[in-house]
Amino acid sequence: MSNGVLIAVEGLDGSGKSTQAHLLVEWLRSMGAPVHHTEWNSSPLVASSTKKAKKQKRLKPETFHLIHAADFADRYERQIQPLIEVGGIVVCDRYKFTALARDGSRGIDSDRIEKCYSFAREPDLTLYFKVSPDVSLSRINKGRSQLKYYEAGMDMNLSEDPFESYLLLQGRQREIYDGLTQSGRMVEIDADRTIPEVLRSVREIINDKFDIDSISILDPKDRMNETLDFSIKK
């Protein structure tokens, strides 16, 4: 049995993809679908090592690539695949395309990245939230006071100035994402728009692509339905 659905959201920082992923997950859950949400860099055991290594500024492109792959593999082997195998829906906030963009922008050969992640099957749908540099930066600036070391790509010595470095790195990543969209692996959504506007596009695409009702839903008598009723009430 392997009739689960795998949906991924991708995009640069500040594209609003995580916001939309949450909205998508709760919408699917409210319909009684067995949905699971997983985020990049969130393996219960690996993430703390990654965090520590980043704090020490110890990761170089090679180990940056490997440790993120380890985190993903842990979630793939213990969350994503197990859910898909029993017919669940998994929403991945960032998938292997993030590795292609981030590790690729750090000079790791794309064939190597593809091979490393070859155990992860292509999602049934990958939404790419395409955002312009200005909008992305203004959203990031609102959310926090300064850029983190690896987020700004300071490990790459592109520029002394974190913001300049950030823009250079994001430029490289945008090119990689564009290539993935052109090759048909991701569906592009204009993410410069407001949250409700983007949400409308997301729901249109999902409704178009999947028959949500056909996905095994929760037993109507299950006590979890009380929570569901509460979520759906307007």
């Binding site: 090592s49 290594a53 110890r58 213990r78």
Partner: protein
Amino acid sequence: MGTGRLIVFEGPDHVGRSTHAEALRQKLEANGVPVIITGLARSQILGDLIKSGNKDIHDFGPKTRALLYATDLMDQIENIIKPSINAGFVVIADRYIFTPMIRESLRGVDTDWSMNLYVNAPNPDLTILLKSGPRRLLQRVIYSGNVGTLSRFESGMDLGFSTIPTVSFLEYQSKLKYAFDKFAEERGFLSISTSKSKPEVSGKIWDEVFPIVKDLIFNDS
């Protein structure tokens, strides 16, 4: 690469890798050659997470574990092994890329896939595979009084051969041995049996190492 060398010991648990790595270190340093010994699960990034004593490592899926070992080793390669070789040291690796690869291959991880994780790992100047039959390994465990603490992982109990640790150990070690031998043959590793006495085995190792490090040996004349 620089002027140093990379010498790798591979082989199963209890075969005497660490003993012989240490004997080789003493011999080299007595001859004026600086040595650094590295091993698995010793990196600053992941050392604690993947030590075999930490039960978390055995809860991971095989691909995750392969990636964690690769991260650990590449961190040591970048921060210790490459700089030491460049500085003229002999680096003795008490296990390198092959042990994690072989262990996980028994758990269904494709060797080509694993190899791809290590494309930037320097090639050893010499890889020595220390060999011993499963029965002899088990005897060493028993003789040293450690049969009660034989770990589930060392015995390969996750593979479901047997629920009795010693029985599982024998089965697992014979599978490992087969995989190690095949690997050694394909890649031209030097295989040395450890059935002889410790000085004899050390002597054999030195015979193979000497030609490789000859030019590094200190000559005070």
